[in-house]
């Protein structure tokens, strides 16, 4: 149990008041329109959505996860967090294309990119799935907060889950995305400072850089500070094959939309940026902060390992970063540390609440139930949806102990079999809504077969996760490529309009030529263009 002094309580209470107040302060802006409530009126400079990307992806369970992989694998474990690098490519490819589409959400983008009944089915599916998944994620991070509060104060887990998410809902309900992004900015600063201070403290307590390396040398574990300590080409915990697969998924995934679960959060931030340039830099800058943060955590956890080696229980060493903060920081700083944890938690909760409400309001209520709803009504539906997502998260959070494995599976299937279709929908004009829809359906069935059913039946060995990825990708191809060619392409008028507005990368020759024929874009003289470049 952690004992708070007067100064600890003062830090914490003052911080919560400032945070809620700064969010509520933007009430007048948030209620102006649905564009303000969900996208801050599409007028933000790049550094605001960038800080929101960083703050949102710094969740309560993230330091637990980072602690786990670094404690177990040493500095090599940092590559598990490198999936975030999809933004290195996305910032200059898919972000640019998506920002130009002006779609409020990824579900809306489906109806701009594809046409007809298939596009509407996709929009409904992705919107419903996103509302559901955002409730699940909130339940997940809420329970992580419950565990931290139980460790620190001995509270029942549900107290941490309900209390802090409810405090957060105050400013999300009042000011919508305006409240989210302004609170995220100041939370991002507090979080970065907190992580930096705890990391420096952890390394200092472990004897500083030289002390850590000397202690590891004594125990014959210097491999723990080598980020390229592979266990073989295909064998062991960290094979080269996994590393190459990770780089492939992460970097080339940036060409597509939805190749990682984080895309859906980023999509909202991309549209809230005031220009295409701001959108690109917001995604790049936010992710640069995420990766730097991971590096700070990694150094701290290696320090913790030197101080406390030999912990066998995963649940124990996953609390490493929290233990450094609560056990090593001096009295008076513990309140600041807990305020950092609250900032970490609330920044994620606020973003996910508003994101879930966006899909419920824009893609389900307005698109299918009341297309002519007034802006005032849409803002109120947004608030009502926020409450629904919050209550749903309490329900899922209370069941989370039993469904963690299922959730990991749900996120995994999301990334594996539809990774390539998420790229193809961006770069290939002929890939139609039926092809994309069939890839989702096929992936649901194939992932169950490959991950669980066939190995249980003894018809397929239990494969490492990187091998599952390649197998699911190949099996999916055998279904959605024939479906694409057996169904007609999307309506050419629709494709031309999308092409002229978004200017996608890739294989769009027939659509481009049609747009040129109609005089919607100029015909490029390639020799002239080459001359201008050189």
């Amino acid at each position: 149990m952690v004992v708070f002094t007067f100064w600890d309580w003062l830090w914490l209470i003052l911080y919560i008041l400032v945070m809620v107040f700064s969010g509520v302060l933007f009430y007048a802006l948030g209620k102006r329109s649905s564009s303000d409530f969900f996208l801050a009126g599409r007028g933000l400079p790049w550094w605001l959505p960038a800080s929101s990307v960083y703050a949102t992806h710094t969740a309560t369970d993230t330091p637990m996860w980072m602690s786990g992989v670094i404690y177990r694998h040493g500095l090599t474990g940092i590559w598990y967090s490198f999936f975030a690098a999809w933004c290195a490519v996305s910032a200059y490819v898919s972000t640019r294309i998506f920002r130009r589409s002006l779609a409020y959400s990824q579900a809306e983008w489906q109806t701009l990119r594809f046409s007809g009944l298939g596009s509407e089915l996709l929009r409904g599916w992705i919107a419903g799935w996103q509302v559901f998944m955002n409730m699940m994620i909130l339940g997940w991070v809420g329970m992580a907060m419950g565990k931290v509060c139980h460790y620190a104060f001995g509270w029942d887990s549900w107290v941490g889950l309900v209390l802090f998410s409810s405090i957060c809902a105050i400013y999300v309900l009042a000011a919508g995305y305006w409240g989210v992004v302004i609170a995220d900015f100041q939370q991002g600063i507090v979080v970065f400072l907190g992580i930096l201070i705890v990391s420096i403290w952890g390394v200092y307590e472990a004897g500083g850089p030289a002390g850590i390396v000397a202690r590891l040398d004594q125990t014959g574990e210097t491999w723990r500070v080598n980020p390229f300590h592979f266990s073989g080409w295909f064998t062991g915990d960290f094979p080269v094959a996994w590393f190459i697969t990770m780089l492939f998924i992460a970097l080339l995934g940036g060409i597509g939309m939805g190749t990682t679960f984080d895309w859906y959060v980023e999509a909202q931030r991309i549209q809230s940026a005031k220009t295409v340039r701001d959108a690109s830099y917001s995604i790049w800058g936010g992710t640069a902060l995420v990766l730097t943060r991971n590096a700070l955590w990694a150094a701290c956890i290696i320090g913790f390992y030197v101080l406390t080696p030999g912990i066998e229980n995963v649940a124990d060493y996953e609390m490493a970063w929290f233990r450094v903060g609560f056990e090593k920081l001096p009295a008076g700083m513990v309140g600041f540390f807990f305020a950092t944890i609250v900032a970490i938690h609330l920044s994620t909760v606020a973003s996910i609440l508003n994101l879930g409400a966006l899909y419920a309001t824009r893609d389900l209520y307005q698109h299918y139930l009341n297309p002519h709803a007034s802006e005032k009504r849409l803002v109120w539906v947004g608030r009502f949806s926020t409450i629904l997502v919050l209550l749903g998260s309490f329900l899922y959070g209370s069941m989370m102990e039993n469904i963690t494995e299922w959730l990991i599976f749900a996120i995994w299937i999301m990334a594996a079999g539809i990774w390539l279709p998420n790229v193809l929908q961006v770069i290939w004009w002929r890939f139609n809504s039926w092809g994309y829809l069939s890839s989702w359906i096929a992936n649901l069935g194939l992932s169950w077969l490959v991950v669980w059913i066939l190995p249980k039946a003894g018809l397929l060995p239990v494969l490492p996760d990187y091998a599952q990825f390649w197998l699911l990708m190949l099996l999916g191809l055998l279904i959605y490529v024939p479906v694409t060619f057996m169904t007609p392409p999307d309506d050419m008028d629709h494709l031309v309009r999308y092409y002229v507005q978004s200017r996608p990368l890739g294989f769009w020759g027939p659509v481009r030529r049609e747009a040129e024929r109609r005089g919607l874009i100029s015909i490029i003289d390639k020799e002239e263009l080459h001359g201008a470049i050189s």
Binding site: A91, Y92, S115, G254, T287, A295, A299, C300, Q501, L505
Partner: protein, 97 residues
């Protein structure tokens, strides 16, 4: 001859060029170097600082490659955005398919 083009017309900037490719390359390299560099600063300070500095150089090259093009795209697109938003509103209200 400049390594990366600095002056763009709206027409040319709408196309995918070598500047986009190099921006993605330097962007990816900078992520790797910044992440490893910051972690190594706490373990092997000299190597950490050198790696981080190499990451900063990559960020600068990325910026040089892509910023002039992004500025042109943004300026051109902003002029059209209002009309596109009106069209999006009509689609949303099922007034246009």
């Amino acid at each position: 001859m400049a390594l990366f083009r600095k002056d763009w017309t709206a027409h040319d900037a709408d196309n995918w060029t070598k500047e986009d490719f190099w921006a993605c390359v330097f962007s990816s390299l900078s992520y790797v170097l910044l992440m490893l560099g910051v972690a190594l600063c706490f373990l092997f300070p000299i190597w950490g600082i050198l790696t981080t500095l190499a990451g900063v150089v990559c960020v600068y090259l990325m910026y040089r490659a892509i910023d002039p093009k992004l500025r042109t795209i943004s300026a051109d697109y902003e002029a059209k955005q209002k009309a596109y938003l009106k069209e999006l509103d009509r689609i949303m209200k099922w007034e246009e398919q």
